[in-house]
């Protein structure tokens, strides 16, 4: 009897001991890692062509490099990436190389010294830096140092269905009054002017960011320093213009219950004539969309009496890769980043195959890209960089930037613009005081 008791006690103890040993071993393994292995965390999913770029470059790098290291990629698509990265950062156990956001969303990481200024290495390698389009590093530069390398350029344009425009004798508008006229003609004929997903506030915010720029490009600069500038006339006016669009019936009914794909479907099915979206959709719209041969693009129209020029673009960068300050071999990490900027990745894969606009200078073969791609590429050449601006949620970070997006959504739903922007100014004041 005693024996059995002892046996049970022993068994339990052994199990405990085993599990402790196992647990600690697993933990240690994770923390130590192999010294000749660099981990790369990315948020891309299997369907992203950029994943192919990463994978091929990793394969190429791992098979022959003078650093004797291997890069190991870990993919965590979607929202989870953010949570995972933050947890790792809080535990001070970040990956060596990682996908990052730009501007305001990158700044906290720079301020906390978590990222390595890659320009320290880049400046010694002029040939590498010259590969990039001018200005792509603007949003990843802090205190004169570059903290991340963007893979693609983004900008927002208005896509339109050429067939519908032709049918109703419309031309791409260059002025607000012309746009209003286009909307009126379309609604009269039972066609939705803009395919809008109003559920995601950032999409509606793109309209507002353009309108604000066309009214006064300075407004964007002012709010970077003075939170009270959110109540400036330019923004109030922007709110009123958004409500004017709602009143004109520019958006689909029930837009708040449409998501990205559902909204795009309206454009795909020819139910909507225009679609405001980033150029990251050029690939889809010109190769997969049912209306692929009918899609054109135009610049956001100017507003009469406004100070903004038609060539100011809402533009930015995407797929930024940064090196963490804990990285075990920064030279090797930089060498891999440099490899990613090779033409065979940028031009062949990103531009010609996927229809993206790489941050590296490329001259894609006109036969290998679609008409829409060339149209947009040429449009971007007109860009007036001085007064161009970027997505507010990227620029101003999660509190003020997302606050702006939500402000616009509430205005879309009928809130008084004066009141809505006053609230945003209060949020910004509190945030900037800190």
């Amino acid at each position: 009897m005693k024996k059995s008791l002892r046996f049970i006690a022993l068994a339990v103890l052994v199990i405990f001991a085993f599990s402790f040993v196992l647990l600690t071993q697993v933990g240690e393994k994770k923390v130590q890692g192999a010294t000749n292995e660099l981990t790369f965390w990315s948020w891309v999913s299997d369907s992203d062509t950029i994943k192919q770029v990463y994978e091929q470059a990793i394969k190429e790098f791992n098979s022959n490099n003078k650093y004797g290291v291997k890069i190991k990629a870990v993919y965590t698509p979607g929202e989870q990436y953010k949570t995972k990265l933050q947890t790792a950062m809080a535990a001070n156990n970040p990956p060596d190389i990682l996908n990052m956001w730009a501007a305001g969303k990158m700044k906290p990481y720079v301020d906390a010294n978590r990222l390595y200024p890659i320009s320290d290495i880049m400046n010694k390698d002029k040939q590498w830096k010259d590969r990039y389009v001018d200005g792509v590093f603007d949003l990843t530069t802090f205190n004169g140092k570059i903290y991340g390398i963007p893979q693609i350029r983004v900008a927002t344009v208005i896509y339109y269905n050429k067939e519908i425009f032709k049918k109703y004798n419309l031309t791409p508008p260059k002025k607000w009054s012309e746009l209003v006229n286009v909307i009126k003609v379309l609604t009269r004929n039972g066609i939705i002017p803009f395919a809008l997903d109003a559920r995601d506030p950032w999409i509606l915010a793109m309209y507002a960011e353009y309108i604000a720029n066309r009214i006064d490009p300075d407004a964007y600069r002012k709010v970077q320093k003075d939170p009270n500038a959110w109540t400036d006339k330019a923004f109030i006016e922007t709110g009123k213009k958004i409500q004017e669009l709602v009143k004109l019936g520019a958006f689909p009914k029930g837009a708040t219950s449409l998501d990205y794909v559902a909204a795009r479907n309206l454009f795909d099915q020819g139910k909507a004539a225009m679609y405001v979206m980033g150029i990251w959709d050029v690939g889809y719209l010109s190769t997969q969309s049912p209306v692929k041969n009918k899609v054109g693009a135009f610049k956001w129209p100017e507003i009469e009496g406004g100070k903004g020029n038609i060539n100011n673009f809402l533009a930015g960068i995407e797929q930024v890769i940064a090196v963490s300050s804990n990285c075990k071999n920064k030279q090797a990490a930089a060498a891999w980043l440099k490899l990613l900027s090779e033409q065979r990745y940028a031009k062949d894969l990103l531009a010609e195959k996927a229809g993206y606009f790489p941050s590296v200078k490329v001259n894609p073969d006109p036969k290998k890209v679609t008409g829409l791609y060339l149209e947009v590429l040429n449009m971007l050449k007109d860009q007036n960089t001085k007064d161009s601006f970027t997505y507010y949620d990227v620029m101003f970070g999660p509190i003020i930037g997302d606050g702006f997006n939500n402000t616009i959504q509430s205005i879309y739903l009928g809130k008084d613009p004066v009141e809505a922007f006053k609230k945003l100014a209060d949020i910004a004041k509190k945030e900037m005081k800190k």
Binding site: D111, R114, A198, A262
Partner: protein
């Protein structure tokens, strides 16, 4: 057998067997709760140093309109869920115990949503509520009631729409609980009631409901605690929108902590939620005191 009896009678053995669960519930479960409480006194974005700010987070929390409205939304969802799920669940249970043919089929049909993941249900109902091709508006159109077509996920209806989805998901579960409880009522009580002239509504209100009261209480507690931490459906279908019209306490916590990187504020909100949950559970247990039924 004898050996086992002896072993279980021994105090050391008892301690050993209890140990894993004891460790789990004294360390692993309460520790994060305490840690979250501790974090609620700091300002922290998970990157820079934590700074102690005292009750600043709580002050900020209760001056935030969105948080206050999220409390009201949570209460609305709780009340709607209680009304919908208890009444519908009871109704379905009463129907099911009284049918003999195809009882299994109906039981399973109502229970199936319960085994689907909330993510799937959220997406499914997101389409049901769609203005253009959604099921509800399509039905209204076919029967010629175009005038009743609505934006179901608009500010006006979103809470109601979410509560219905949740009801669809959970009503089968509560129905099964009630079916089991009703089937457990001894036949002689029912027969005696019939002899005494109880029928229909009287039978339900005077005999059946009092008899299944303990199960009803359990299901009410489950609905309330489930509604308090209402998150998945709201996040998948509306992300708390439009314009925060369906923001619940749980989506607020997620938004502040993980989207805005205000971990202290998020912790303060979750501490509040924790306190409210405990309080409500105590209140329910007090008012609906245990009443064991002995047959």
């Amino acid at each position: 057998m004898k050996h086992l009896e002896k072993a279980f009678g021994n105090k050391l053995a008892i301690a050993l067997f209890i140990a894993p669960a004891l460790i789990l519930f004294t360390v692993v479960v309460p520790l994060p709760i305490l840690h979250s409480f501790y974090m609620s006194f700091f300002k922290w974005d998970m990157l820079s140093e934590m700074t102690y700010t005292g009750f600043e987070n709580y002050k900020e929390l209760f001056s935030d309109e969105i948080f206050i409205s999220s409390i009201f939304h949570t209460i609305e969802i709780t009340i709607l869920s209680l009304i919908l799920q208890v009444s519908l669940g009871l109704f379905l249970a009463l129907c099911i115990v009284n049918i003999t043919r195809g009882r299994k089929y109906y039981q399973n049909a109502f229970f199936i949503p319960n085994v689907l993941s909330s993510a799937v249900i959220g997406i499914l109902w997101f389409f049901v509520y769609n203005y253009d091709f959604g099921l509800i508006n399509s039905i209204l159109k076919t029967v010629g009631l175009q005038s009743l077509q609505q934006e179901w996920l608009s500010q006006k209806y979103v809470i109601f729409a979410l509560s219905i989805t949740t009801c669809w998901q959970w009503v089968g579960y509560h129905m099964i609980l009630y079916v089991a409880a009703i089937s457990g009522i001894p036949q002689d009580i029912i027969e005696a009631a019939i002899v005494d002239g109880a029928q229909g509504f009287k039978m339900v209100s005077k005999i059946i409901i009092p008899q299944i009261l303990p199960v009803l209480r359990v299901s009410i507690v489950l609905i309330i605690t489930g509604s308090l931490k209402y998150f998945d459906m709201a996040w998948i279908m509306t992300e708390g929108g439009p314009d925060f019209a369906s923001e619940t306490i749980a989506t607020y916590i997620y938004r502040t902590a993980f989207n805005k990187l205000q971990y202290g504020l998020g912790s303060a909100a979750s501490t509040f939620l924790f306190a409210v949950s405990i309080l409500i559970t105590i209140v329910i247990n007090k008012f609906a005191a245990k009443r064991e039924i002995a047959y």
